[in-house]
């Protein structure tokens, strides 16, 4: 059965890039949303196997989204992969502290992305 993935990213081109990696790599059904609020709406509707999120978004940012997911019993076990441009930025550290499983810096290749996905899903 296809694994549902929630992809939260405000760039349309990046969303379609990531979706195409996941969809061509295997059995993933990618739900694309472009901001934190849409992510909050999508979460309860589907049993997601993975969340991939950007950090820097208006209103509900990726750190807040991660914290929310970790704080809810029914979402707490969903692996969260954070994608952002800057590994050294304080926001990256905060996302990991809020409970993100891994961080992947943009730009990344398809292999690097799939490796990171495998890593965060490894715990299952």
């Amino acid at each position: 059965m296809a694994q549902p993935v929630l992809l939260v990213e405000d760039s349309r081109a990046v969303r379609s890039f990531v979706s195409s990696i996941l969809e061509s790599a295997g059995d993933y059904d990618v739900h694309e949303v472009e901001n934190g609020f849409e992510a909050l709406r999508a979460l309860p509707r589907t049993d997601f196997a993975l969340i991939v999120t950007d950090v820097n978004m208006p209103d509900v940012n990726g750190i807040e989204l991660t914290r929310f997911v970790r704080g809810q019993a029914k979402f707490a076990d969903i692996p969260v992969l954070v994608i952002s441009t800057d590994a050294s930025h304080p926001d990256t550290k905060r996302a990991l502290e809020a409970g993100a499983n891994a961080f992947l810096a943009k730009p990344f290749t398809a292999e690097q992305f799939l490796e990171a996905v495998a890593r965060v899903r490894g715990g299952e």
């Binding site: 890039f17 709406r41 914290r67 441009t85 905060r94």
Partner: protein, 713 residues
């Protein structure tokens, strides 16, 4: 799969959008910066745009764009974190970056072009803007917030929190619950209300939200208003507001702040429960949108639309053929029922075809805002270079035109704005001495008028003195002195559009804006547009450009001459008149007719296209002359027959005809006939080139024109 994805159209279009959004943010910031305070949200949006661009460009292998964005991102980060003041020189650098990014995008994806646009000078200027303030003070001691809360704020949000405290605002926690399906609508409404009170710092989703359908949020708000005032402001939304502990105005500085934000537990600080129901008033779930992305736009390549448009054109031909068949069926005596039925179907098909055609045209429409934003940047840049403070007012940026027209408009408008700033608007000192107020004003307006769009460029500068224009025109030999004395004021002003008049020294001397206006006129004419000018010395000038909404499909007048059929774009046809051979006079070797007191040069398509060596009028007593006009020029085209009006889809010419002057394209009429469409601007130029100038007065000869006029309204 390890290669970066291809430089897709998707990347280019999104990068373009991001840069345009960035530019709009800058323009707003620029205006606000000059008048005092600016909205920190705008600066943050500018940062986010460049941050997104960096990530986007990196993924798609646009390394040059990505590294420039990286450098700029640090500067914007310092700006939004208050480590670098937002100044006009800083804005200069940011505006320059918009141009550099656009140049980089323009060459991206072309072979061997990496490095064609140099970012070095800009990078040096970015580096020169080094932050002058130190890092902010350490952790939660100022605000007394729960460190767990500070931990989920981004660095920027934390900065805004501190900044609000520094400005002496109180901090509030606004607790709201939303129906998940309508959260975006609810949030927008609440955000709008809260923004009236101060700054929304962030939204924290509550970790202990109850059901699947609802979500609770805590909103951090910095405001000068009292708890009661904010409470009353959001009362109808059923939201609870809590003041956060140590707001600076009422707390002694040494007191350690209690951890006051605990989203799972309303704090014991004074709180108001505004309604029993803590849910915000919701839009009916049935009207809310789906879970899928809220973006409603799809980008389509114009070529694909052209394919659709051609198909519609071909369908129209099929329909015309069917109508022909209907006539044949009618001729069969016993088929009355069948032919009636067929006619009904044909009529329905006709209506649907028109709708289809209109829908495709609508898709091609884009707002003028894109071009206007670009002009706004130019106004700012040139104004600063010329040391003039210029206020630009834009209205009607959402007016839509065919994308191709919008693109072609950019150069002429740019040129007009440039003239406006260089020659039209006076220096500050000059304006003050004239009692005009130090800032110059330029207004850029667009509006729809019937099936045309009007764009106006108006300034309150020097304006042009028509007497000076007349003297200069005579001096330069554009008109004869005797002729010039008989010209009306407006005719004289229109001379600024004549090639040879508009040179730089003339423009400066008549303190007007005539530089290169002939080129502007030609560009506008190529878009089947008209340009008019209204000006008064000391008061300024107003240029009005009138354009068709689209060029893809036009109404055409179908004519026949020398046994050939041609189409003339109806929007350049002013009227058709009928003359007799005797009305045609020859003045200095050129054929003219007189029309209401003016001589009108006429031309024969048979000669221009060398159709017949010895063309003769079909009926020397009944010669049709179609009068076409472009910008302020008029020319008559001699035709044998007027066949009627028709909507035609313009198709590009085949190789053999491409480059034939006077032919703009081809189209198909019923029966599969290909017919050429005349390029009126070229024909007008041709005729005027021959007859040396526009319409001139020829006195009483006007009565010789046979009065039968056929209007084409």
């Amino acid at each position: 799969m390890s290669e970066p994805p291809k430089p897709s159209a998707e990347f280019l279009s999104e990068a373009q959008e991001v840069i345009e959004a960035f530019s709009r943010n800058l323009l707003q910031l620029d205006t606000q910066q000059r008048t005092g305070e600016f909205d920190p949200d705008l600066l943050n949006a500018a940062f986010r745009a460049i941050h997104s661009l960096k990530g986007l460009a990196g993924l798609f292998g646009a390394t040059q764009i990505s590294s420039l964005a990286h450098a700029l991102e640090s500067t914007l980060d310092s700006l939004r974190l208050g480590r670098l003041p937002l100044s006009q020189p800083a804005l200069d650098v940011l505006f320059e970056a918009v141009e550099v990014f656009q140049n980089m995008l323009a060459v991206f994806g072309l072979e061997e072009t990496e490095g064609a646009v140099s970012a070095d000078p800009l990078l040096h200027r970015i580096a020169a803007l080094s932050p002058d303030a130190e890092e902010e003070d350490g952790a939660g001691d100022i605000v007394g917030l729960d460190p767990a809360i500070l931990g989920v704020l981004t660095e920027y949000e934390e900065h805004r929190l501190r900044e609000n405290v520094r400005l002496g605002r109180r901090l509030y926690r606004v607790h709201a619950a939303f129906d998940l399906l309508a959260i975006d609508v609810g949030i927008e409404s609440l955000k709008g209300k809260l923004k009236e009170f101060g700054e929304v710092i962030t939204y924290l989703p509550s970790a202990d939200a109850g059901s699947d359908d609802r979500i609770e949020l805590d909103i951090l708000l910095g405001s000068e208003a009292t708890l009661a005032a904010i409470g009353a402001g959001v009362a109808e939304d059923g939201v609870r507001v809590y003041a956060l502990g140590d707001s600076p105005s009422d707390a002694p500085e040494a007191r350690p702040g209690p951890p006051v934000v605990e989203p799972s537990n309303p704090t014991p600080v004074p709180s108001v429960s505004l309604t029993a129901d803590d849910g915000i008033e919701m839009v009916d779930a049935s009207t809310s949108m789906s879970l899928r992305s809220i973006s409603q736009t799809v980008r389509v390549d114009l070529e694909r639309l052209d394919v659709l448009m051609n198909l519609v054109g071909e369908l129209a031909l099929v329909q015309a053929n069917l109508s022909g068949t209907l006539e044949s069926v009618r001729a069969l005596a016993r088929s009355a029922d069948v032919s009636r039925e067929l006619q009904t179907h044909l009529r329905t098909m006709d209506r649907k075809l028109s709708l289809l055609q209109q829908s495709i045209l609508d898709v091609r429409m884009v707002p003028l805002g894109q071009v206007f934003d670009k002009l706004a940047r130019v106004v700012r840049k040139l104004g600063r270079e010329a040391g003039k403070d210029i206020r630009l007012v834009i209205t009607g940026a959402d007016t839509e035109l065919d994308k191709l027209i919008v693109e072609e408009l950019s150069d002429p408008l740019m040129h007009m704005i440039r003239n406006c700033i260089d020659h039209g608007i006076e220096t500050e000192a000059e304006r003050t001495s004239l009692g005009k107020g130090p800032s110059g004003h330029i207004e850029l307006r667009a509006f729809q008028k019937g099936n045309r769009v009007v764009i106006e460029v108006e300034d309150d500068g020097r304006g042009m003195d028509w007497r000076l224009i007349r003297d200069k025109a005579v001096e330069r030999g554009v008109v004869a002195e005797s002729e010039s004395r008989e010209m009306a004021r407006q005719e004289v002003i229109d001379l600024i559009f004549v090639p040879g008049f508009s040179t730089k020294d003339v423009a400066t001397e008549v303190s007007g804006r005539g530089v290169g206006m002939d080129v502007v006129k030609t560009n506008i004419a190529r878009l089947s547009g008209l340009i008019d000018v209204d000006t008064a010395p000391g008061r300024g000038s107003k240029f009005s450009i009138t354009l068709p909404v689209t060029l893809a499909i036009i109404q055409a007048l179908v004519i026949e001459t020398a046994r050939q059929t041609f189409c003339i774009p109806l929007n350049s046809v002013l009227e058709s008149i009928m003359v007799s051979e005797a009305d045609i006079e020859t003045v200095e070797g050129h054929e003219v007719v007189s029309l209401r007191g003016k001589t009108l040069p006429i031309l024969h398509l048979s000669r221009i296209f060398e159709l017949q060596t010895n063309y003769r009028y079909l009926d020397p007593a009944r010669i049709y002359v179609v009068i076409v006009g472009l910008a302020q020029h008029r020319v008559g085209i001699v035709v044998d027959e007027l066949l009627g009006q028709q909507d035609v889809v313009i198709k590009p010419l085949g190789r053999a005809l491409r480059g034939v002057p006077g032919i703009a394209g081809a189209t198909e009429l019923g029966g599969g006939r290909t017919v050429l469409l005349l390029d009126v601007s070229v024909l007008v130029e041709e005729a005027l080139g021959r007859s040396d100038g526009g319409p001139t007065d020829s006195g009483p000869a006007a009565s010789s024109v046979n009065g039968s006029e056929a209007a084409h309204a």
